[in-house]
Subunit: 182 residues, 2 copies
Amino acid sequence: MATTRDQLIEKTCELLEMQGYHATGLNQIIKESETPKGSLYYHFPGGKEELAIEAVSYVGRIVLNRITENLAEIDDPAEAIKMFIRNIAVNVERSGYRAGGPITTIALETASGSDSLRETCHRIYSEWQTAFAEKLSDHPRAESIATLIIASIEGGVILCRTSRSRTPLERVADEVAALIAG
Amino acid sequence: MATTRDQLIEKTCELLEMQGYHATGLNQIIKESETPKGSLYYHFPGGKEELAIEAVSYVGRIVLNRITENLAEIDDPAEAIKMFIRNIAVNVERSGYRAGGPITTIALETASGSDSLRETCHRIYSEWQTAFAEKLSDHPRAESIATLIIASIEGGVILCRTSRSRTPLERVADEVAALIAG
DNA sequence: GTCTATACACTGATAGAC
DNA sequence: GTCTATCAGTGTATAGAC
């Protein structure tokens, strides 16, 4: 029971992750999601920016859940986070290096453009960071390490997609684990 | 003695860093650099893509020199790299969080678009990584740590620009230094 | 709520005079 | 080498019938 609104949001998430904000046109979104343009402006009167905000919020929530669930599966924080990052590396490779980092491109493109999109990305990054910090709550530098984790994952995705190799994220996984273990 | 060609490349570097590839139009480049459009296609017959490749190569070389010079100033690798990253944090703040990471946005936007731009970014990231790895040559995991450094700087810039705070890169600097010192 | 047709600005690119 | 005028295509957004 996918509503028109949901179809638009999901297709927008997919295209934004692969192409970014400015390279993704509304015409492509309505064509690939098979929804008429009139419906888009009915559901999202704010146009492209409002649609992107909803899409980024949606995918941010999904990723937050995945972080929480995956980290809960392994007791040792260093090992849990290492496996989580290695899993991202595999997924980036599986996408043909076309996806990975669902909000990274948007965050950069809109950092000096749309303030509402920038704030949405900032909120999501904060939520992700909190999830990692909670897993590291025994560590004296939990918050600081959580920031490094988010930063190195985002940067690692860039390096993997640019080099068409999963090695960068695998190295990030190993080094982050080494840092946590001390 | 700035030639027309150099003016175009330098202005393109500036705009690509702040806005990204797709948000930067050729009209804006020629207007702000005060060079006519005819000259652009005379110097860069390949159009926007060729101009961007030249711009990315140019700024990549400048940054490589800055990495080499700055790292040579302090003997201890952990301290040298820490200060280098803290310096980036200050520069990002100084730009009003509108600049920083001169090729990051381009690397992401063109990862699934232009193959020649993607390869150019890949080459530059490799050169930067080698510069850090050489400074860490005494460390058994020099290459792996150099990858983490590039990734966490690129990601740290994203977090700083998105949150309008220099804290993320300062934390990255501290954690990377902790990792190197062991 | 859904859909089509269209307005209007702007994009990258080119032609041709100078 | 430089500059202007202009092309064809696409972008976001809107109007109005159904």
